[in-house]
Amino acid sequence: MASDAMSTVDIGASPSALRSVWPALLIFAVLALVPVVAPLLGGGTYPLTVAGRIMIFAIAAVSLDLILGYGGLVSFGHAAFIGLGAYALGILMDAGLEEGLLLLPAAMLAAAVFALLTGAVSLKTRGVHYIMITLAFGQMAYFTMTSLSAYGGDDGLTLWSRPLVAGFDWLNDRSAFYYIVLLLLVTAWALCRAVTRSRFGRVLRGCREDEERMRALGYDPFAYRLAATVIAGAIAGLAGALLAIQAEFVSPAYMSWQRSGELIVMVVLGGIGSLHGAIVGAAAFLLAEELLSGVTEHWRLIFGPLLILVVLFLRGGLGGLLGKVRHD
């Protein structure tokens, strides 16, 4: 039992920042090379689209890992933040707003406000109740959007153009859009990493370890969890807005509960509580979907057992293969 505990804290290793950062840097380097290497391999724009999609979901998965992995909160409504970000962007563009530097923060704000309001209620519950109430809020948002006929209802909302960036039309350039998404992924990862290692992050992780102990120390777990939920919601809202830009379409399906489930699968697959793991998990999930769905439409029949094998035999998930996480 003692050795078990040792391995999770990873004592003995020197707390070198580089040591814990290199797996993420490696991932970012690989992603940065995709637009360079892809044309050499052929396949047209397809690899770039898939890799871009991976990065967008990775942003969402990293944000989910902040509350799931570090907060210990199994949120089953994370897709709602993505959907709200996407709709905020779609609705504002429909109203004539074109500037991305306004649209993206607005999408983040919309998702953050929703996270604040729903989190204030759901974080009053714990365990299974928390899972169910986040699921319920997610479904509420989903059904609200499907019935919003002014914005397409069930059919979703088509974007007739892509936003501008400081007045420039960069997002229509595939490579430029790709690198902007990569930059945002790196930023989201760096921000979440800083948060988990900060004073705030220590309290958040402490509440996951033993809530009652933290109360006895004078911390109110609710306040810290709510703040983490709002941060995660804002980042997921950003992912939603990017998803909408990439697809030039906003679909209520972005916020279905299956999407929330898939995000949890990404985090678990990559290794809970490891931010670079969430990126690996998103990549593994979407690549498996791409490759296996080409073989059979029942691709989940193959993917399911693979997920079980990872959970059973890879402590620390796929991301754990690249390197362990160390805090403080």
Binding site: M1, A2, A5, M6, T8, V9, I11, P15, A194, V195, R197, S198, R199, F200, G201, R202, V203, R205, G206, E209, D210, E212, R213, M214, R215, A216, L217, G218, Y219, D220, Y224, A227, I231, D328
Partner: protein, 250 residues
């Protein structure tokens, strides 16, 4: 100055038909160690939970430093200076010993709503935490995960965390339970070192520790305080002997 640190009056708690706390009243004076003793099922733990905020009493008041805290949530009581240890130790098992104490120290020093600066660079907090580990005899165990500590070390760590809060009252819920003779002796020594400066409520079954440490003792039987007094008075009290000490001797 002579005002009591903690004042409990007419405290009642029922679970259905069972009255677990039945009009309990006692106080803790500045600097004193006030022991709560009583046979199993006397309601000691329920009383502690009401003092610390895990249970809300049905009637009565709890005043701490002159302020009514009867309905205050646990974390607000802790912020006001009420620190505790648990009957079954509660630590942050995935954190190292040092991180456990640092988490407590951090609560005393500035806001925890700081999002970007790594805690690893908070030298002041770490230094204060290390000093506390030295003081509680855990100096050599700083980098060990809390889950890997021995039972006695976990008790010491809980105490270190409570002291890190610089409390105005320390509630110790059976700190000697399950510890060996040597560890008990060390804990008694440690607590004696704090006596006089830090008022404490000590719930304990180990009578030799209680009589060695306590300035006053309250005896709880079936949810009532049957006697309060100095160790000598309690020893001589016939009602206590009948209800409790006699039982133990028999």
């Amino acid at each position: 100055m002579t005002d009591p640190v903690l004042q409990v009056e007419g405290l009642c708690k029922r679970f259905g038909a069972l009255t677990v706390t039945d009009g309990v009243g006692f106080d803790v004076r500045p600097g004193e160690i006030h022991a709560l003793i009583g046979p199993n099922g006397a309601g000691k733990t329920t009383l502690i939970q009401q003092i610390c905020g895990r249970l809300v009493p049905d009637a009565g008041t709890i005043r701490f430093l002159g302020e009514d805290i009867t309905r205050l949530p646990t974390h607000r009581r802790a912020q006001r200076g009420l620190a505790r240890t648990f009957q079954i130790t509660r630590l942050l098992p995935g954190f190292t010993t040092l991180q456990n104490v640092a988490t407590a120290v951090q609560r005393r020093r500035g806001s925890s709503f700081r999002f970007l600066r790594p805690v690893g660079r908070d030298r002041e907090i770490d230094a204060a935490a290390r000093a506390l580990l030295q003081r509680t005899g855990l100096g050599a165990r700083a980098e060990v995960p809390a889950s890997a500590l021995s039972h006695g070390e976990k008790r010491q760590l809980e105490l270190a965390m409570a002291l890190a809060l610089e409390p105005k009252l320390l509630v110790l819920d059976e700190p000697m339970a399950g510890t060996g003779r040597e560890e008990t002796a060390r804990l008694v020594e440690l607590l004696r070192g704090l006596a006089g400066t830090l008022p404490m409520i000590l719930v304990e079954h180990d009578m030799s520790a209680v009589f060695a440490l306590a300035d006053r003792i309250s005896v709880l039987v079936y949810g009532r305080v049957v006697a309060t007094g100095t160790p000598a008075e309690i020893r001589a009290n016939p009602e206590v002997r009948a209800a409790y000490l006699g039982e133990e001797a028999a």
